[in-house]
């Protein structure tokens, strides 16, 4: 195993409780650069909460989250994003009232301060980058359309595109293929395969076929604790996992 310094993300002894209920209980997790890690587990296992904790949406009760040399538990959400962590939500989280172009533009990593946003000009570099991303996420023809009118799948892609334009070092995806039709799912898988190159990815997913396709390593959460961790093969055959999850 590599030394501590080599991990992109080290989550150690992380816990959080809501009114006494321990949603995440002493979880440790190490993600290497360029690794694709999938978190699986039954409903209520604390998967989404782990992502929430990493991106700062929820504050940990105890434990530490180190991203490279930064301690995320004490940083603001936008600071975490600037450090290089991107997050996609479970339900497509895009801006309905804006066009696809504007949606992508807002995620463009420039002019993030109030003054910067005020003085931000939509120059050639910006436009080209957005068009390029739009091409990648199959939305080149919908740039001027209000995001509200996109299909569910397109909305998911748009959100992925919004992450992509940030170019994060760690990308966190919460059920990226949930609720998609078969063809959309195929496209999405293809898209994900394209974008995960050159960065670490943390994915929550239920779709086992999909998981097998992309996962380097798998972490199984159960009742807020890590139940098992390793390759898909290893996890699949772990009797503890079989009992609580795959066996059903």
């Amino acid at each position: 195993m590599s030394t501590h310094q080599d991990f992109l993300l080290s989550v150690e002894a992380l816990s959080v409780s809501f009114d006494g209920f321990k949603a995440v209980d002493d979880v440790s997790l190490y993600v290497e650069p360029n690794e694709i890690r999938v978190i699986i587990g039954p409903n209520g296992a604390g998967k989404t909460t782990v992502l929430d904790l990493i991106c700062g949406k929820t504050r940990a009760t105890s434990g530490s989250i180190r991203f490279r040399d930064k301690e995320l538990t004490r940083m603001s959400e936008n600071g975490i994003v600037e450090a290089g962590v991107g997050r996609k939500f479970q339900n497509p989280s895009i801006y309905d009232d804006l066009t696809v172009f504007e949606n992508l533009e807002i995620s463009y990593p420039r002019g993030r301060s109030v003054l910067g946003a005020l003085l931000f000009r939509r120059d050639r570099a910006v436009r080209e980058r957005i068009e390029e991303i739009a091409e990648t996420i199959y939305l080149a023809d919908q740039l001027a359309e209000r995001a509200e009118y996109l299909s569910h799948g397109q909305k998911q892609w748009l959100e992925i595109g919004m992450l992509l334009i940030q170019d994060p070092e760690l990308l966190m995806l919460d059920e990226p293929v949930a609720g998609m039709s078969v063809s959309e799912r195929r496209n999405t898988a293809e898209l994900l395969n394209k974008i995960i190159v050159g960065r670490s990815v943390l994915v929550i997913e239920h779709d086992m076929k999909f998981v097998e396709d992309i996962a380097h390593r798998v972490t199984v959460l159960h009742q807020g604790k890590v139940l098992s961790e390793g390759s898909m093969e290893h996890v699949k055959t772990d009797p503890k996992v079989v009992e609580v999850y795959l066996g059903h």
Partner: protein, 308 residues
């Protein structure tokens, strides 16, 4: 400033201040209860809440006149009838308002505020046109006046006790209704997930209307009770609106216990401060306190902590 008084004086003042605080607490709670249902349970911001209270007050006035003219023998008991009339009238108006206005605005909760503000203007003018611009005096049955002498220096106002008792009964009733009854469960279901509640066979329309009417009805009773301590005029309702909202918000909108606790905190601090400073400064200090605490605990005193 307390050095000038004898110990027994201080003792009785302490007791009477305690009662003054409790009465204020009852008043606050009573006026906030209807709002706690409408705002806390339904998320509707009813700026005409004060006007519903005043409707109750006017109904009490009318009932008293009616008894005075036709049933003078039963006058001592008219107040109970008046409260029922007040409840029914306010609830009926509430149901009508829900049907005409609120039901069209569930998707835009902040807009309910603007529409009900318009409604409050209309109601004020309506009262003015019907009852005249002057205040009306509601005559109380003699037994409600005066005070109950406990010791030579300790006296407790009877109407204050009455308000306290009434508040206790209504609070208990509301608690039962929200937490134990079928309607209460349905209301909570609708609030949490309107679509889902509809899907499992709850008539959301009916539930909404009943809830809103209930909240307004309670406001009517509050208004009726307030004729004992306050004034009844077309614009008197505006006096209550900010206090009511602060009590509900401060308590954590969805929690009945929160509303009770917050009414208690606000009333006790105001009543105590009023004793040591002046009325104006007491109100300012209490408001600042509430604002600061809300800043530190944006969800109010008693909101449950959940994964957001």
């Amino acid at each position: 400033m307390l050095g000038d008084y004898s110990l027994s004086d201080l003792g009785s003042i302490f007791v009477m201040q305690g009662f003054a605080g409790l009465i204020l607490f009852s008043v606050f709670l009573l006026m906030a209860l209807g709002l706690a249902i409408i705002f806390g349970q339904m998320g509707v911001i009813n700026m005409a809440h004060g006007e519903f209270m005043i409707l109750g007050a006017y109904m009490t006035y009318l009932t008293s006149k009616l008894f005075e003219t036709y049933l003078p023998a039963l006058f001592p008991g008219y107040f109970f009838v008046a409260m029922i009339v007040a409840f029914l009238a306010a609830a009926l108006l509430g149901a009508m308002v829900e049907w005409a206005l609120i039901s069209r605005l569930y998707k835009r909760p902040l807009d309910t505020m603007l529409a009900t503000w318009g409604l409050s203007l209309i109601l004020q003018q309506l009262y003015r046109s019907i009852f005249g611009a002057r205040e009306v005096g509601v005559e109380l049955p003699p037994w409600m006046l005066g005070s109950w002498q406990i010791t030579s220096t300790i006296e407790v106002p009877i109407n204050g006790m009455f308000v306290m008792a009434l508040t206790a009964v209504i609070t208990a009733g509301v608690a039962l209704l929200i937490y134990k009854s079928r309607l209460g469960r349905q209301v909570r279901a609708v609030v949490q997930n309107r679509v889902m509640a509809g899907a499992v066979g709850i008539d959301t329309q009916k539930v909404d209307r009943a809830t809103f009417a209930l909240g307004c009805g309670i406001a009517g009773i509050a208004g009726s009770a307030f004729t004992m301590v306050g004034s009844t005029g077309p614009t008197a309702g505006q006096l209550y609106i900010v206090d009511s909202f602060l009590v509900v918000v401060f308590g954590g909108a969805q929690s009945l216990i929160g509303t009770i606790a917050s009414a208690f905190t606000i009333s006790q601090s105001r009543s105590t401060l009023e004793f040591f400073t002046s009325g104006s400064m007491a109100q300012v200090a209490t408001l600042i306190g509430v604002v600061v605490i809300l800043m530190l605990r944006p969800q109010g005193l008693f909101a449950t902590k959940v994964r957001r």
